[in-house]
Symmetry: C2
Subunit: 429 residues, 2 copies
């Protein structure tokens, strides 16, 4: 059988993994694809030799266009990340009639609609399993296996760094800053951790998953986003008292009566019995509720050289198997509905709040009054002395709209008897 | 677009679910398939009207061959179960050039090789996602998403009835018999429960999963099988003491150095921290370890009208999307390797054993001696008085071959001081 020729752009972690799998598993891949997968070229600006890779078996170039314009190449795998120049590389490749596989979450989240249209026009595939959830085949599940479902809800643990930090903080009495510094030393976290700890990375992934699930290309800017920098040991301790854990989640909830969709990324207090509560360390998971399949969960490695490359090469096999049939991927048929993103203020949750207050009679009455005036109904209050003159007030509320709790909190913070709002966490999904 | 015509054989639980989804979700399915999915006919010997199904929209017949030989029908969905007459129905349909979808685990486990060959000869698909794990897309994951992996291990909770019984016994001080009787009353368990509680159902599913995972059609008779009838409250209590739970598992382990594969179905004591330990009630899950993806888990409803029909209609959409491309499913390309099933006696585990013994000095010495003679190394012993003259001996062993422990147990049972072996459970995976 004629081989399928492959060009890879980017020889970083995932690129190295992809080359490694193509080299070590060639027999398996040929059987699965129905033809040999031949790595012809790798483009990388600063190519360095890696252990276990035989670089004499492929062409190394620093010019990506040499691969993109090579008429012999059938499939381009883009693994450089970021919008530029990845976007123009992919556009040119698609227009040159090449199938493209990418792990680029930012690019698909921001410009997916445009790129899928170009792929469709040129009757080629644009696959992106590795962009979300690393080795977890969640994109394939959403586009293919769960095709007979309207998606009602999705919750994802989609970032290994934040899940590692929160797991570590739950197991040991360490601060966020200390765990982050450790993770940076070990190479699990970036020098600039903002993309992870402030939720940008998760928002891209949620944008991609929801766009497929709800058949509408969402704007990344419409996703509410809040990071984990403010999570303290005290919050984790209190969560434990209530048999709960704190997890950083991506959340999407569709209203079955309208076109409204909630999209948000923030930490949540979850009961320890929830299937997502035991997803620990650098593992990722996606929990899906469909109208027919009911609840399903997909769990695995969200990052790492081989797990992510497993998804990239899974896409490669899928394309190679169908390369003669001119069939284009199901993902290209989405984006035909219209959905509205619900403003964060309109979303209802149960809340957990922690205030530092002056330790004197009447404070709780003042706070309760403000909550009452804002229609916030209190479920539970616990007070603990924390210093000579200060007390800690832990409050859990019944379900209430975000805008009401925020307004109440603003008013409470103005009280002379209130030192600070130490914590505000959403408790329900 | 020309519609895809569908015929369904069997209007039981899953058949009703399939018809329900085809009727209520026709717009969604048309978008996903690229063309309308039209249910033309349903064959059922004893057709009875079901709530919410508009049976004026399709032909009802008691003659399956009328559908199988209908030249207008593109896809046959077989949902009657069992080997006969399902096998001849499917053979005829494939030879008539129709794509076939089935949820029939017994048929695929016993005659998959033969049926896939007929499908391949006739360039049609034979899809079977619903045969294993209900709504969980594990077949698609194994054949497609995880294509770039050699599978090293699989553990499955693949039977809702046994998982329901064991979960109930773990939560309440009830006997196996009482929970089974309850489950039968509620319709969760069959009047003849053997297929579930003795592990036959699970063995079919393990046979299917391993055949795909290891590229060799296994013989169902080569799978070691042990049910849950002997699990007692005392076993569950002791497991709890050791922070373990008892789960009924399907296990497949490949030896990376040879062609040997372990295949077995039996209850296992698992640490509560294992991802499978929190799969409760009627939920199913499959845990997979691949050489590249590392660990992954798939979780969801293993049975039920709509979850299982979700898998059937997912297969239908997949076939409908590709119906013009004459592409045949990846599952048809397996069975080209040769694997050996390791005899149960050669498999090593840690064991938990519980004996009822005569309460007098020297008993433990006698037992220990027999273990020692058989190379069984004891990790822990606990003794408890249970009656005037009897004691309970709980023993956990280090890793040892099954044949050695079985030989030791036979010898121990001959001792005059030993009343009975109350329990023997494997503890490691």
């Amino acid at each position: 059988m004629k081989p399928v020729n492959i060009g890879i752009i980017g020889f970083g972690t995932i690129g190295t993994g992809a080359v490694r799998i193509l080299q070590k598993d060639s027999t398996l891949l040929e059987r699965k694809s129905g033809r040999p997968l031949l790595l012809k070229s790798v483009a990388e600006l600063n190519f360095t030799q890696k252990d276990g890779i035989d670089s004499s078996k492929f062409i190394v170039t620093d010019d990506a266009l040499q691969i993109i314009n090579d008429p012999e190449i059938d499939i381009i795998i883009e693994l450089i990340g970021g919008v530029n120049p990845a976007k123009s590389f992919i556009e040119t490749a698609l227009k040159n009639g090449k199938h493209v596989i990418t792990a680029n979450k930012e690019l698909i989240a921001k410009h997916g609609a445009e790129l899928f249209a170009i792929a469709k026009e040129n009757s080629v595939n644009l696959n992106f399993e590795a962009s979300t959830g690393g080795g977890i085949p969640i994109i394939n599940a959403m586009t293919s296996s769960l095709a007979a479902n309207s998606i009602l809800k999705m919750y994802g643990i989609l970032n290994g760094t934040t899940n590692y930090i929160l797991t570590k903080m739950a197991n040991e009495p360490v601060t966020f800053e200390a765990v982050l510094a450790d993770a940076q030393k070990l190479g699990f976290a970036e020098a600039d951790p903002s993309s992870d700890v402030d939720g940008h990375d998760i928002a891209y992934k949620l944008c991609i998953l929801s766009s497929i699930a709800f058949n509408h290309f969402f704007d990344i800017n419409d996703i509410y986003r809040e990071g984990i920098r403010n999570i303290s040991q005290r919050d984790i301790e209190i969560a434990k008292d209530y048999k709960m854990v704190i997890k950083m989640l991506a959340i999407a909830v569709a209203d079955s009566e309208s076109d409204d969709v909630e999209l948000r990324v923030h930490p949540v207090m979850l009961p320890v019995t929830h299937p997502m509560a035991s997803v620990n360390g650098s593992f990722n998971a996606v929990f899906v509720k469909g109208d027919n399949v009911d609840e399903a969960m997909f769990y695995g490695r969200g990052a790492g050289e081989l797990p992510t490359a497993s998804a990239v090469i899974g896409d490669t096999v899928e394309i190679a198997r169908n390369i003669d049939s001119k069939r284009t991927s199901m993902a290209l048929n989405f984006g035909t509905s219209h959905k509205n993103v619900v403003p964060m203020g309109e979303i209802s949750s149960n809340f957990y709040l922690r205030f530092s207050v002056v330790d004197k009679p009447g404070v709780l009455a003042e706070i309760s009054k403000i909550f009452g005036n804002n229609d916030v109904s209190i479920k539970m209050v616990k007070q603990a002395e924390t210093g000579e003159d200060t007390a800690e007030l832990n409050i859990m509320t019944h379900r209430v709209k975000e805008k009401k709790i925020q307004k109440a909190v603003e008013e409470i913070k103005m009280l002379k008897t209130v030192n600070e709002l130490s914590s505000l966490l959403r408790m329900s999904l």
